[in-house]
Each structure stands twice: as C-alpha cells, then as structure tokens.
Symmetry: C2
Subunit: 479 residues, 2 copies
C-alpha cells in the first residue's frame, strides 16, 4: 500500500475501536453529507443524494405499480389543525418548529413546520371525498419533515430529514389493513432484495406505536454492532383520524360513513442502515441496486500508449448495462483504489497494458476483495453476474451477523446476562403489560423492537413478571 | 351534447367573459390543485403533480447531461447567514417566514424558511471548496421555497411553491457566464420543444434583476390574454456572493481566489404557463411531452359484446408507446369526452362495435377536435404522428397569438395608445434610465419584460424621454 493510500485509510476510525466514530467518518469522508450552519440540519452532498435518488426511483415505481399517486401538501400546519387529534398533537407538538412571523408581521395563528402530514391529508380528504365511488384514495408525497431533536446524527436523527409519506383512505377496515400490510411488505422486499438488508417484520407494542395509530407495523434491521434500526413503518388508523377531522362520504347505502385510513413511510435513515449493515474499515459498501456507480474503471499505467483509450472504450461498453465511472484523473491507481473502496463502489475494473495484450481485465469485488481475470469479450455477462454475487454476499453476511446476534431468554437472569454481554436481539415471551416493557428499558436498557410475524410462542411465561405470556417480542438496543 | 356534458362544460367560465376566473376554474375543475387550510398555500393534486413530475423528469435529465448533480440543502437559513449579502437580504427578508420556536423553546437566532438558497450554497461551497481542481461545482436541488406573498393564485404566486434551483461556481467569469446562458437556453428549449410555448430570451433591466445578481436573464412567455409570464430565470453573480460569504480556493498560481457563480430556476409556474398558453373554453390542453395521459381510450356502447375487451386490448397496445388511460367507468361516452377534454388529454381514441367490425378506431385531437378514422393495424405509427401534430399545432397557435400581440412604438403617443388598446408586448427603444422605466410603469402600467437577444436597434431615441437610445426593450403587463 502506498503512503498516500495508507493515509486515506488511516483517516477512518476502525469499527472495533469506535463504531460511532467509524460511522461519522464514513458519512463525511465518503462525501455523503456535510454539516450545515443550521444546527441539527444536514446537507446531502451529490454522492449521498444520488443514493437517495436511487432509493426514491425504485420505491416510487413500486408505489405506482400498486396504484398510488404522488401529491404535494403544504409544509405548514396551522396549530388548530394539528390539535384536532389528541394523541398526535401530544406526540409531535413538543418537537415542532413553529413559524410565528411572516411578511414582517406576527401571524395570527402560528404554523408548525410539518413533522408528519396526517392532519393535512385528512383536511384535504375532507374537501375532496364525497362518495364511496371516490375510494380508495392512495396518495404519497416525497418531501422533508422537521422534528426538533436534541441530539442528532447524520441520516439517523436530524432536525430535518427527507422521506416519503403514504396516506390512504379506504371503504372498509379490512381494505385499510390490507394496504397497511401490503406497504410493510413492499418496504421489507425493498430492503431485502435491493438494499440486501434482512429485516424482521412485526407489530409495535402500544408503547412504541405511532401517536394516534391503532396499530403500527415495522421492519427492523440489525446493524453490524448489533443495534437495531427501525427502517420503515406502516400504520393502521382505523377511523380515528377520519372522526377527528370529520372526513366522511356517502356510502353505498347513502348514509354518511367514515373511511378507514393508513400511513406509511421510509426516510433517509435507510442510507444509515446501508452504511452500518454493509460497511467495513475501508469504507462504504453499496448494494448494486442503489450504488451511484456500480462499476469503476481504473486504468493502470495510463500513460502507456493505448491504455486510456481502451479504458474509455471499455467504460462506454459497460455503460450499456451498468452505472459506470471512468476514473481517468491523474491520481495513482493505488489512491484511486482506496478512494473508490471508501465510496463503496461494488465492482472495480482494472485495465493495464498487459491486460490489453491478453484481451482481459481484472474485476475486483468490493465486499470480499476477490480478484478475477475476465476476457474483455465477456464483460456483458461477467459484470452483471459479479454484481449479483456482491449483492447476495452482502445479504448473506448481514443475515449471518443477525443470526449470530439473536438470543432467546426464558428467565429474567438470562435476559440480564445476555443484555450485559451482547448487542443484538433478545427474544422473549411477553405478558403484554407496559410495566414489564418499562422494566426491560430501565433495568437492562432494551426497548421492544417488535412482535415478529410468524413466530410461535416458545414458552408460557413472561421472564419479567412470571405471569402467563402469549406474545413473542424481539428486544434490543436501537438507534 | 347531452345534458350532463353541457352542465360540466358550463361550469367553466368562458375566457372572453373573465380570463382570471376561467383560469381558476381550470385549476380546480381539472383537479390540478386544491386550496389548503394554510392561507396562500396550495395542494398539488395527483393530476397536477403528475404534470410537475413529467417536467421534473425531463428537465432533470437535461441538467444531468450537462454534468449537474443533485443535492439537498436545509430548508432553514439562520438570520445572520441570510444577512451577509446586503442586496439579497433587502430583496427577500420582507417576504420571509420566520421560525422562532423549536422543541418548545424560543430559538436564540430566528431561522428564515428558505425563499431561495444562494446563502446556503455559498456557506457549503466555503466548506468543501479547496482547490481549482474542485471546480466547477454544478449543483441543483428540487424543493419548495416560501415567500410571504399578499395576493396568491394557483401556480402563479403562492406562499410556498415547488421549483428547482441550480447553483454553480466556476474558475473564470467567462465559464460562469457560459453556464448562465447555457441554462437559459436549456429552459428556452424545454419550453419551446416540450411545453410548446414560444419564449422571448433576453436580459432583465437592473430594476427587474434578481436581488444581488450582476445580471439576470429570462425567458418570457405570452399568455392567451396577452399578458407576459416570466417563466424561468438564470443569474450571473460574478464574485459578489463569493466575496460576501468568503468562498475561496487555491488557484493554479496557489493564490487564494474567489470563484464566479450562477443560479437558475424554474418552478410550478410553468404549469400556469401551460394552462394559459394552450387552454380553451372546454378546459386544459396539455402538450404531449408532459401530459399525464397522452391518449384516453373511450369505448362506445361498451355493453355490446366484445367492445370492452377490444378497448382493453387496444389500450394495452398503446401503452407500449404512449401514456394511456382506458376509461371503462360506467359514465356515458359523452360525459367521458367532456371530462377528458377538460383534463386536456391530447388525443382521444374512440372504439365502438362498428369500428371493431371495420378494424378501425376514431382518433380525435384535443386542440382542433379533428376526427380521423385509423386502421387498428396502424396505431403504432398513427398515434405518435398525431401527438406530434398536436404538439406542433399548439406551438403554432401560441406563436401566432404572440405575433398578433406584439407591436412596435416609436413615440410616447404610440406607447400610450397601444398600451390602452391592447394586452401584449410593446417593443420600444430605451435610453437605459430608471426614470423612463418607472414612467412606463406609472403612466401606462407596463413593466420591462426583457432586453431581447438578437434584436437590432430600430430607432435612435427613447420614446419616454427623447434622449438617445441603443437598447430594444419588450414591455408588457405581466403575471
């Protein structure tokens, strides 16, 4: 390793030394974000934003396939509108930013910068919904929202963050619940098949559910350090909001009805999940589906005759089937390797004079660093296959990490020992009482991540209180 | 025309009766927007947002072709940051919305909701720019901004609106000026070739330029009523902002330099321009490039055997080369015709039992209402050709309107007479003095739209003051 590379690599804190610092180093040095002069607010730089754009493009297409339409709502919510649903205002008002002046004058009513837009959507639904024929209405918007957090971290928690929020209304409770779960599955599939992040699907406890929801469902991902990251949520509201905001329609029987409602969202948190699920001490490792560049072409001995030209020709061919970057800067190949490893490009293509002679190139996987020589005649099949291998490799590593860090506890002693010794999921039975959930938090520092789908009870009692228990819960430390 | 159609059509005010009311009617009845509970803020409904999404998709691709990268900046600007450039703060502070409370506490420094983001970009550039090797930086963001307008109208002027803002920095003044004009041309081409709106390109007078810019360039479109709509602007800043925000880099000679800067933007105003350039008394007419549906398929006598199935089959074929909507609702064909005319779908495809017998369908242009019978074997060529004809037809009509409403005035008498008799462009020579520009505004109600590119002086004196004049100016009433 040349001296300059070493310097670049040394600039990242090792995961084992300080995982939190490693994370921050990646965010800044891979040029994903910059801090702004607005406390707690981030700048998404081109490389970070390009990842988010790819996420948006893929998810948006999925939403449209299932009949969702995009809209744009105002960024402001009048205080009185926000206050109509009691739980929601209690949940969100304490962390709102308030506009109190406009056009040089004090406003008669202050406006919250939206922390989430259920209230605005309800207000709109009340205007435009008339008959059962208008249902379902399945809307989504891509925007940013504001929550006045005290401590912030890039992508994971910031005062402003970017997300999508879906809001739908339906004629029946069953349809609304189907939608809620359909969207949860959409998120889970996206995480598992595009971001290569295995997730646990389940329902949140009442303590952890969304303010005002009847039920909240979640996908939980596990980071390399064993901490959980709530990566997407889907809420079923029943007719709670419809009643609070007086959203009605003439039903099939011509009687006024309240529709049943859902909302669901994922955010730029997903970028944090990608970093902490796949990254290593050399930097980011990006799943091919959302990598701004899937392949980087690095010419070796580029000053030698024909090398630059051949590298450009190869890059142009690769552009037909993959997002490609030709690095023809005057940095050394070693420096380029380090830089593009830091930025997590899944496959590197090296091409030097000898390779050209032999009509071949070198392909290097970012995740395993395996090198293979490939004939230049086979790029069209070899590169897509290798990208697929990287994707599968990332998923398998992440799954292995999660499996190695998932424990079952049957007694309070086991819970305490496991929680003290490890970060990861602790799987227990639970009686359903808030008191036991609070005990888990206060005494061993674990929050309930979810009541996972498809898990059968494996014991009869709650380890916290010894009372009968029917629910399985995954507990963990969480971001 | 059936009774129900007539009712629908009557619901729109005729352009001749009240153009402003016609415009509002279209915005609401074509379901482009809804008013919100936030005074002066709009909701973009699915059909309106879909138009904006198409605009975004096409423009974003153009920006990327010329090497621009998307980023996301915070929506807030600390007051002190906003204040660093004197002209900018004078221009924008009076119409800012201010956040003064966050997380239940009064903020130490109030935050403006961004009215435009030059200040934030400069602040970021100052962080990330080090060397001439980092230049140019060519960034763009898609977002909404807030200006506390007193009177608002859908798309044309609202307190929050959606736009893109490009911000670039360059090593030399010449490169920055090239960028400024390149982006102006990008906007002009987009308007003329995709939105089918002819525009006049030119430079704004100092009175009308952007607060803080050295030069502002504009594209001006003319609406059906003869009023002008400023449809996009591109600004050259020189190093004014770089100096105010201390953005520097080590130049090729290793001496600290200030980069030269540009910004440029178009907004959801473009949707207003589309409505008022092309619409008629039956509703919207959408240029095919941005129409959410380019073709609507309406089955005739759909209850007759085979009609629904054939209509679905045809719609599926059309989906391979155009955005298509099959209207298989149980409304009457007449009602559907009116509804989709209102919504401006460029081409209607009618298909009834007789058509099926003859292996044909009827294609109807939205703009001219011409009907043609087309063999079902020729859809793949006939429909794209017809869409192209609609597009060209729209452009030609708009150009004709503009040409018919452009007059030249050589004397103050002529200016007064023309301004009293017509809405449109009045073309004069101008001495360059602010006093004459103000006289035009106060005495005849005209603002300078621009000093158009490529116009040769056609007289020697300014009609306002009689002094020597070298510049040609287009004047008009404007939205």
């Amino acid at each position: 390793m040349s001296k300059e590379n070493k310097k670049l690599v040394e600039a990242i804190t090792a995961q084992e030394v300080d995982f939190a610092q490693w994370y921050t180093d990646i965010c800044l040095k891979a040029e994903l974000v910059d801090y702004s002069s607005v406390k707690g607010c981030l700048i998404l730089r081109p490389y970070g934003y390009a990842i988010w754009e790819n996420i948006q493009r893929l998810l948006d297409a999925e939403f449209k396939k299932t009949g969702h339409e995009n809209v744009a709502m105002p960024m402001f919510i009048p205080e009185n509108l926000l206050k109509k649903e009691g739980d929601l205002v209690e949940g969100f008002a304490p962390e709102c930013a308030w506009v109190t002046m406009g056009g040089g004058e004090k406003l008669e009513e202050r406006l919250a910068v939206r922390p989430t837009s259920e209230t605005l959507f309800c207000d709109h639904f009340a205007h435009v919904l008339h008959s059962w024929r208008d249902l379902p209405m399945k809307y989504n918007q891509w925007c940013s929202v504001v929550r006045w957090e005290k401590t912030t971290r890039p992508f994971l928690r910031s005062r402003e963050f970017w997300w999508q929020e879906g809001h739908t209304i339906h004629e029946t409770a069953e349809e609304a619940m189907d939608e809620t779960l359909q969207q949860l599955n959409c998120y889970a599939d996206f995480c598992e098949k595009q971001l290569m992040i295995p997730v646990v699907k389940g329902r949140k406890t009442d303590k952890e559910k969304f303010a005002g929801a009847e039920a909240t469902f979640t996908i939980e991902a596990m980071m390399k350090d064993g901490k959980a990251l709530q990566s997407g949520t889907s809420h079923y509201f029943g007719d709670i909001f419809s009643r609070a905001y007086d959203v009605t329609y003439a039903g099939r029987d011509n009687v006024l009805q309240y529709p049943f409602q859902t909302s669901w969202g994922v955010s730029t948190r997903l970028v944090g999940a990608i970093i902490m699920t796949h990254g290593d001490d050399s930097g980011l490792i990006l799943p091919p589906a959302i990598a701004p560049y899937q392949v980087v072409v690095v010419p070796i001995a580029a000053h030698k005759p024909g090398v630059s030209e051949k590298a450009a020709e190869v890059a142009q061919r690769v552009a037909n089937f993959a997002r490609v970057k030709l690095d023809n800067s005057d940095n050394s190949p070693g420096w380029k390797f380090s830089q593009w490893e830091m930025k997590g490009v899944p496959v590197r293509l090296e091409l030097g004079p000898k390779d050209i002679e032999n009509n071949q190139c070198v392909l290097v996987r970012r995740d395993t660093r395996e090198k293979v020589f490939v004939s230049l005649d086979e790029l069209e099949t070899a590169i897509p296959a290798l990208l697929e291998q990287v994707a599968q490799g990332l998923y398998e590593s992440a799954l292995k990490n999660r499996e190695a860090r998932t424990w079952t506890a049957n007694t309070w002693e086991e819970v305490k020992e496991l929680a003290a010794a490890n970060n990861g999921y602790i799987r227990t039975m639970w009686c359903g009482e808030l008191a036991c959930e609070e005990k888990m938090k206060e005494e061993v520092g674990l929050s309930s991540r979810c009541m996972p789908f498809g898990e059968e009870p494996f014991a009869d009692v709650c380890p916290c209180c010894g009372k009968p228990a029917k629910k399985v819960v995954f507990w963990g430390k969480a971001y």
